[in-house]
Amino acid sequence: MKKYLLTRQELSQLLDRLAKETNLYAPVKDKTGATWGKVKNTAEVHLEEVNTREPAKGFIFPRCEVLLRFDQKGNALEPEPPEEQIVFGIRPCDARAIAFLEKFYTIEGKTDPYVKARREKTTFIGLACNRTAPTCFCLALGGSPHDATGMDLLLTDLGDLFLAEPLTAKGEKLIAGYPEAKNEHLTAGAKLRKKAEAEIPLRIDTAKLQEVLPKAFASKIWETLALNCVNCGACTFLCPTCHCFDVTDETVRGSTVRCRVWDSCQFTLYSRHASGHNPRLDPRARYRNRVMDKFYYTVEQAGVISCVGCGRCIIACPANIDIRTTVERLLKEFPEE
């Protein structure tokens, strides 16, 4: 697709206008870094961190969401449809995660209407990463710090100018009227991409993983890999592709709603039957489920590995468990074992 050019000032003006016209969300500063917030103008936007602490998945799959309301007679009513929103500053790993969630929630004829409606009402304006963190490994999984998957519009910071690549009609609309980029700008963008990619040394043989993982299921190696896991679930709550939820009824100020909230397969009660039987009683089995789900199960279900290499689980884990180490060890020890 064609790429366009905006000056830094034009981008500020565009964002200020969007903040007035619609709901604009962007990374904002908080005590320990950056988090997602609704912004009124460009000045509030905080792009100094490599990424936000929480993923962007909440924009299409909120942490807590009303599925139904009940009237006095107990009849179930659907909630109001979601509002339009524009998310600025999403990084390529998170946008790929959005693309995965969108796919996962609509596969095989059974569509989740809430996720679908939210994605339709959301525009993602992404920002390519010129800088990476030591925990980033998107490149190892087929992504890139400059990948455009899942975005509506991708911006690359060239200094005084921004390269803007529209990926969808929504993105086209935003960028209409700006001048087209010239060859020199495209070359500058490509250079930045190369430099950022070079910062990620890790490579993972994802094709081999598909052979290794089913073989590794019954292995004792999981005891070592999950030895320190305290089943806190931080890794799953911060993961941009984790899609599990629980459904509960709540009464808030006298009115009853049915909500869904994020859930985690790392919790003991997650798979417990009402009879008391629990197919995944020990922590090792639960850690294994998470890893298998990311790198193997979702390949079977949706055709893609669902780890996007954002590194959040590595940063958050209180037990210092590093999913890269897990994958590397699995690849190293199988099929020899």
Binding site: K110, F217, H273
Partner: protein, 279 residues
């Protein structure tokens, strides 16, 4: 919006207390809206979620056959939702969403003998299957039907009226058993389902076995079926992993890459042999 989370309103028409312990009740539900009834088509083996506003929802196997006018669920009181449901009386309106999941392999069963093995209150979807197979228009499509059904004690057997009729039916060999008698007056068999299955020994040639029960029963039933000559692709089991959505999104019910709510609840034993033991 075609919303799979939106329950349809259902009226409780009848409640039957099924057992001596009084913790199993069958609820006969009628559609409040005629249009919903037309849209609700299912086959034996499928399940649906029942919903009570403010309490929540839970999945249950559909115990009625497709031809029966009311939708039946037999529910054991075990926790929050099931207790609230047990407290409702005829006339109450609740919600239902579904039908979800796959069904017993009726096509594969056509022209073959059918062996039904069930323990405890998991008999529900097999009740639906028996009622379906015994329909005069379906009868000629299937061979000999043998059903082995066990409960803890005589007072814990479900669907007593129907059982009485089925026992008289020339089309069905119904073998009832109870785990232990404890002095109760019971003219039929005492023994665990797998052992009774061994004694009855239905021939495996050209037969399909349907098994439904707690994981422990499934575990002990399979070796017996194997000894009787049943191959893994002749055995079908219904599983009950924990569920929240019923449509393959919430993640709760997975067995490896499969979801019990969507790819099951009915699996052939050969399918399960290729999946991790997570049920």
């Amino acid at each position: 919006m075609n919303n799979p989370y939106l329950p349809l309103p259902m009226r409780i028409e009848r409640v039957v207390i099924e057992n001596d312990a009084r913790d199993l009740k069958t609820f006969d539900l009628a559609f409040v809206n005629d249009s919903d009834r037309k849209g609700f088509q299912f086959l034996p083996g499928q399940f649906a979620f029942l919903s009570i506003a403010g309490v929540g929802e839970a999945p249950f196997g559909i115990a009625s056959a497709p031809h029966e006018p009311l939708i039946k669920f037999t529910v054991k009181r075990v926790g929050v939702f099931t207790t609230a449901l047990h407290e409702l009386e005829p006339g109450a309106i609740i919600g239902m969403r579904g039908p979800w999941g796959n069904f017993y392999p009726l096509e594969l069963m056509t022209g073959r003998d059918v062996v039904i093995v069930s323990g405890g209150f998991s008999f529900t979807t097999l009740r639906a299957t028996i009622a379906h197979l015994l329909l005069p228009e379906n009868r000629q499509n299937f061979g000999k039907i043998t059903a082995i059904y066990g409960a803890r004690s005589p007072g814990e057997l479900l669907y007593k009226d129907e059982i009485r009729q089925w026992e008289k039916s020339p089309d069905l060999q119904l073998v009832l058993c109870v785990d232990r008698l404890n002095g109760a007056d019971w003219p039929k068999r005492e023994g665990l389902v797998p052992n009774v299955l061994k004694e009855v020994a239905p021939p495996a040639a050209n037969a399909i076995a349907l098994v439904c029960g707690p994981p422990i029963m499934i575990k002990y039933t399979h070796p017996v079926l194997k000894d009787l000559g049943f191959k893994p692709d002749q055995i079908f089991l219904s599983l009950e992993n924990r569920m929240k959505c019923g449509i393959g999104k919430c993640g709760h019910c997975n067995i490896g890459p499969k979801y019990v709510c969507k790819d099951g609840p009915v699996f052939s034993y050969s399918q399960l042999l290729n999946l991790p033991p997570e049920y």
